[in-house]
Symmetry: C2
């Protein structure tokens, strides 16, 4: 049995789903993977939760999600982190918080600190990755640590791990993905004769689209994901400036109907294609026919297709889009990283 | 750089495709994975090829697939193996040969010997696996060796590695697969109005179906694959007797037409479903509608769907069916196994 200390950043929907998932799966993780995940600290915006609880009067003991922990109000995350990381090298920092993708902060500094003390990072937080994937990748590599980004790319849909494991040894020539459920839902409804504005407000009514849907419908969420998937799946390391981005806000019903008359459907595709000089990265709506493997991916569903030299075309479709799906993605990355990195101590 | 000795069993279509693939990918394997695959010996029915060639008069030097090796006529594979395995623990035995699935021989004995000397096995040969998956799995495990079976399950279509890596930590509740291209081709053509006999002879004419198509159309190939995928993807360990098998030979045009009138298609599905008391394993033709993720998998294409507790439904579709696809599957298993097992020596 290997005991793996865990620091969790963020205790919102994803963080809480992760805590509940680990507690639900505790026996299976022991049995199937020989892993015992040991909660160390949960950092929240308002302070930190510590395990085991100290239980003094100024550290009230709180019970939540089946766990008891001591609550400590402190804003000094970076300072507090140092001593925690130093105490238990080989732990995993799980990031379920949100960082700014323009600065990568605050996650960027936490992760760098984690790597420097030999901690792995698995994340549902895209910000630091979009800000500087290459720098973080190199930092992880130099410190022989893992960086698991499934939770930040398309949660339960296999993307990066499909490339790294199922396509190991193959050259990836192109990647195409329907990576944003909201815009795919809107396009699917438009294909059924509904206007953009109506489809959007329907999606908002159902809680599929955010009140401010810009990130999804303007293609940025897709851009982040195809950027990260490409960076993690190939030897190439792009930044956000390299992605040409067009969303679905200007798609008219006429365009959708024209596509339908040709037996096609309009999909918002994130694409990477290898070229003689490197590659191109773009997000744009495209009309695809039934011979395209992602033609069949409708509604809020997501899918991804890799074209390879030796294995042909391989697609993955599905995967739950929810805090539970994201938590499951964090957990799978954690399992894959610890079994690949530290089996000396088996 | 890690030097990995390779013994290859079989030098037919798959074995030769594997040799060519490794030579083509030599630089990329070095660069991307830090691996140098070192040919040791290729065992054929007629004798063995040795590297480097000794080049005496009774060991003629032969050049094939870009390699030079010494040819030795010998039938004593098991005897010869012993000394080879002993010389280089941590090597990989790549099985591109064919064994009887009723006895597992001759592969079964070779693999056991390999594990006992610390060699990993990756295989496109189903025979030993169908004969005694559990015994081989245990033998590999006890000797801390890997057993890679992608090449024997659906070649370039991700199946077992999808389960082991992309679904790590999730409970697999069911598996459904279209795992045999020949029968899917025949069913697809029948859906287009062609009789069974006509579709079969068409498939034979195109080289899709064997002259004796029994293994494919009677469901046995699918049975082997769903058995092996289930055994490798879950904690359950079934044998062939546990699989209920029905093929497509008695499907009438009327049945196909009836399904079509209901908007459905008949597919030969290999299925595993978890039950309260364990699970059921079966192969049978089933009418599936457009809400089924494998409805869209037509012609010679293959696909697989996993239902999980935390990630929802995840499907993979595609993957080249050819000796190159099988060789690529052997290579990916080899890469995944050596990077998971021996990173002490990085």
């Amino acid at each position: 049995m290997r005991h793996i200390p865990i620091i969790l950043l963020g205790y919102g929907n994803v963080g809480r789903a992760f805590v509940r998932l680990v507690e639900e799966k505790r026996d299976r993780l022991n049995q199937d993977y020989g892993l015992n995940l040991v909660w160390t600290t949960i950092f929240r915006r308002e302070g930190r939760y510590d395990f085991p609880p100290i239980g003094e009067s100024d550290h009230p003991v709180i019970e939540k999600d089946g766990l008891k922990f001591g609550e400590l109000k402190t804003g000094r995350v970076l300072n507090d982190l140092k001593s925690l990381l130093r105490e238990a090298p080989g732990g995993v920092m799980v990031d379920g918080s949100v960082s700014d993708q323009k600065t990568g902060q605050p996650g960027y500094d936490y992760w760098k600190k984690a790597f420097s003390w030999g901690w792995h990072v698995v994340t549902a937080n895209k910000g630091p990755l979009v800000y500087d994937y290459k720098g973080l990748h190199n930092s992880a590599h130099q410190n022989r640590c893992g960086l698991g980004i499934s939770g930040a790319t398309a949660a339960a849909l296999p993307t990066v791990d499909l490339a790294l494991y199922a396509l190991a040894g193959a050259d990836i020539q192109s990647v195409e993905g329907i990576l944003n459920g909201t815009s795919n839902y809107i396009l699917t409804r438009m294909g059924e004769g509904v206007d953009y504005a109506e489809a959007l407000s329907e999606a908002q009514g159902k809680g599929i689209a955010e009140p401010d849907p810009a990130m999804d419908v303007e293609g940025w969420d897709t851009a982040y994901k195809i950027l990260l998937i490409t960076n993690a799946s190939t030897e190439l390391k792009y930044s956000l400036n390299d992605v040409s981005v067009k969303g679905i806000t200007s798609i008219s019903r006429q365009e959708v109907e024209k596509a339908a008359r040709e037996g096609k459907r309009i999909k918002l595709l994130g694409r990477f294609e290898r070229t003689d000089t490197g590659g191109i990265l773009e997000v744009a709506p495209r009309a695809v026919g039934p011979d395209h493997p992602l033609f069949w991916v409708n509604g809020t569903e997501k899918g991804i297709t890799f074209e390879t030299d030796t294995m042909g075309s391989i697609s993955a479709v599905g995967g739950r889009s929810s805090p539970v799906g994201a938590a499951a993605a964090l957990l799978k990355d954690l399992i894959n990283i610890v079994r690949q990195h530290d089996n000396k101590s088996d």
